[in-house]
Subunit: 351 residues, 3 copies
């Protein structure tokens, strides 16, 4: 895919300054870009970081730069955009469309007779699509992927090689599932008895709405009796665990190695950063942000917009004040020892 | 699978009150149940939660309810059981038997001539069973699963699609291994030298006893020289790491994303909750409970029945007292500052 | 593979004492060894642990022991080595060579016509090697493994069954990739907008240098625009997450369930222990050691040789002093309360 700078400006919604006939062959970083590639400079951010990026962009071989209005840069064709990163992301999607996962039905795939594959579905080598499964138009099922009995995959989904969709799970449109992800394995449900644990058969399912992305080796368990639900536009990183009966609201983000235990309710636009954990039956209302490695105890509710840190998590401003003192605990101890040492004297003074 | 309320009561060991001829078609949650489905109300627990469940059960379309003796509920056929959750779990197992993973030997499977498959073994599409491997009667090996040379799988095991059993590992009877789990990869053993790390070839194995369940994408490493051992009835959640030479005792539970480093000894009925970690060479005696995200330092021993929290972990009652003060550190700091400010005056008073 | 004690001594560079004609059939631990197997006793370490190992070695059926010079042991053929563990690792590699993963090109494998396989390459059942991929001499690609378009695998690599190499990733020589590992999935890059997240297409790659080992179910994401880079000799355990654009220097070690967020720079000979986490854009210089479950905040730099503990991580000596007081916070609180109670009296004393 190639275009002119003018065409690219129109596509990404930018104002062009300079040579609109410039041939654009792709996107790149400032340091690795070739002359025909477009780069960008992030707007906002730390002044120091911006200065570094401006310098790298100026030195880059790239002759076309996406940057914010009002920022000077000599010798380049400029694409002015209020949000350069967003404009660059659009350029990426246009010039570097996601690579094909599977085209046509590979001769080695095993597709059950009762499975329904819509038009334009691709199925890679050795993929297995079981009875009554449905694959929506334009979806691609990678090599070695497994789509269980009665599972439903919406339109234009990208199931990368070696993903597992257990029987009966449902994916909306434009869902991406990366390699090694497992959707719909049994939730972790047992009844303790004196003779050990008795399995609580997990007969629920998983429902994943449109435009969700699921990272490599992430696991999303089926509900115990009903469904585990992932809302529209949710982005889930690698090695994330989502337990049975969990609900995650629209446009929330779950970073790598985070874990959400059973029956948690996570609102919309929540951000769970890396290695965070929610114990069972927590509620995070809309917009809550949980800092890295933080944890929320069993059953706890945090209200909309809370920004949290620590294990157990506390509001960040409070947590920062506590941490500031925590770092001086040895001094605090010494202070108290000195006050105690002074104490008897003053007690003596009482007499 | 269907039955009458009377048959179900007998099967789960409950006393029936009401219409024993009621047709039961399955199990469900109160909110999603249809008339013919059975639901349950948990006994014990918080009064508030119980009240909510009772209300939901009362309003449910379900006409049959499993609940504790002595609790009133009008208009339903009641199955009285001392442990309603346990009775419901039995109902689930009867009415919703675990779905078939594989039946017969699929034409596309690759089974070595020297592998021994007992009667009733199912092998799914593209599964690989290498030389000298043994699969016990009634076991099912899912699509794309890999059973290495000389590995032994006991009777009635459920190996879900896309699981890996490295060469030589041994599973008892009724073991379930979920998709993406890897049993028997090399332990993390190297010898540091000035020129980098020299591999310590891992020639041990993994021995998994009867009735163990292993979650999706969990990894259990082979021992360095001897065996990593998982005891009878142990339940392991998703994305758990178990290092080489570890021993886990009977009926212990390991929740999602927990990690047990090499050579740890974990007793019987231990509970490792989510995202907990044991550093190498720890010992947890029987019944120890480790709260979420807690960690036990290298070589540490905790005695039977300890309930622990924090990283490093401390007994929970102590940890709670510490945390209570931790939350007031800024105030504590202020108090000490005020005492100091008052100090010179009192010292002056000495004069 | 078998040899005499004399041959083994020569191979591992040890001085022999005793019967050089002893037939050595393999390596083992003291407790499980048979007469013909060689064992070792670690040098250094805690006196108590060493005493235990010496006793176990003395009682062992093994007739050949690798141990440090100057340590007495009766009735055995001794192989004296300054570093017995290293000598034993060499013995292991010689007597127990890594088992074959794949030999020849299995009839069921799908190898693109344009893929280039060097001499001696093994490809297991159902493996997929896409267009333009290159596999170096002597490398083995396990069953169900996936090598994407244009990926390059160096010489003598061991790709265990069920691993994924996304399109275009590059591996050096002697790289081991365990089952379930995913190299080159999309980095976690999106641009937030009012309507949700817009994907930042990840067009970079992954470059893995020689002698790297990658554990089971570990994920290493491709760079956003350039490459994620893993240096020579790096050892990565199971279930590790390495984000886009990360660089890990030579001979560093990353233990199980550790996570390195995007754009971090990790120096040489760094040790990230289990469940540690680096937030985005951190820098750890050469030789930094991060204790278990510790975390480094966004953008933080730690200088060469720092030994760190906690979340947020602090230098270990400081962290230990803080933790010592932390454990006494309830006492500290009581002390301050007592001082306060004494306070008014002393103030009264002022009058």
């Amino acid at each position: 895919m190639e275009c002119t700078a003018k065409e690219l400006a129109e596509y990404v919604g930018a104002q062009i300054e300079g040579d609109g006939s410039l041939r654009i062959t792709g996107c790149a970083s400032p340091t690795s870009a070739k002359a025909g590639e477009v780069i960008f400079v992030e707007a906002g951010g730390h002044a120091e970081a911006t200065a570094r990026m401006m310098e790298a962009a100026g030195k880059s071989a790239a002759r076309c730069v996406i940057l914010a209005p009002g920022v000077a840069m000599a010798g380049k064709t400029l694409l002015r955009a209020a949000n350069p990163r967003l404009a660059f992301a659009k350029a990426l999607a246009w010039l570097h469309p996601a690579p094909r996962i599977a085209q046509g039905i590979h001769a080695t795939a095993t597709v059950a007779r009762s499975a329904r594959l819509a038009e334009g579905v691709g199925v890679g080598p050795y993929a297995v699509i079981e009875e009554e499964a449905e694959i929506g138009p334009g979806s691609q099922i990678g090599a070695h992927s497994f789509v269980g009995r009665g599972a439903r995959v919406g339109a234009d989904c990208r199931i990368y090689p070696r993903a597992t969709l257990y029987a009966g799970v449902r994916l909306g449109a434009r869902v991406a599932v990366h390699s090694g992800a497992v959707v719909g394995a049994d939730g972790f449900g047992y009844v303790p008895t004196d003779d050990g644990y008795v399995k609580f058969q997990q007969i629920g399912t998983v429902e994943i709405d449109d435009d969700v992305e699921i990272g490599a080796n992430t696991t999303i368990d089926r509900g115990a009796l009903d469904a585990t639900r992932i809302g529209r536009g949710v982005k889930i990183d690698n090695l994330v665990q989502i337990g049975h009966n969990v609900e995650v609201g629209e446009h929330s983000v779950v970073a790598a190695q985070a874990g959400i235990a059973g029956s948690c309710k996570v609102g919309k636009k929540v951000i769970l950063t890396g290695q965070t954990g929610l114990s069972g039956h927590c509620t995070l209302e809309d917009g809550v942000i949980l800092a890295p490695q933080s944890g929320v105890p069993e059953g706890k509710t945090w209200h909309a917009g809370a920004v949290l840190f620590g294990s157990p998590a506390r509001p960040l401003d409070k947590a920062k004040k506590i941490l500031a003192v925590y770092g001086h605990l040895p001094e605090l101890w010494d202070k108290v020892r000195k006050l105690e040492a002074a104490g008897p004297t003053s007690e003596a003074g009482k007499g």
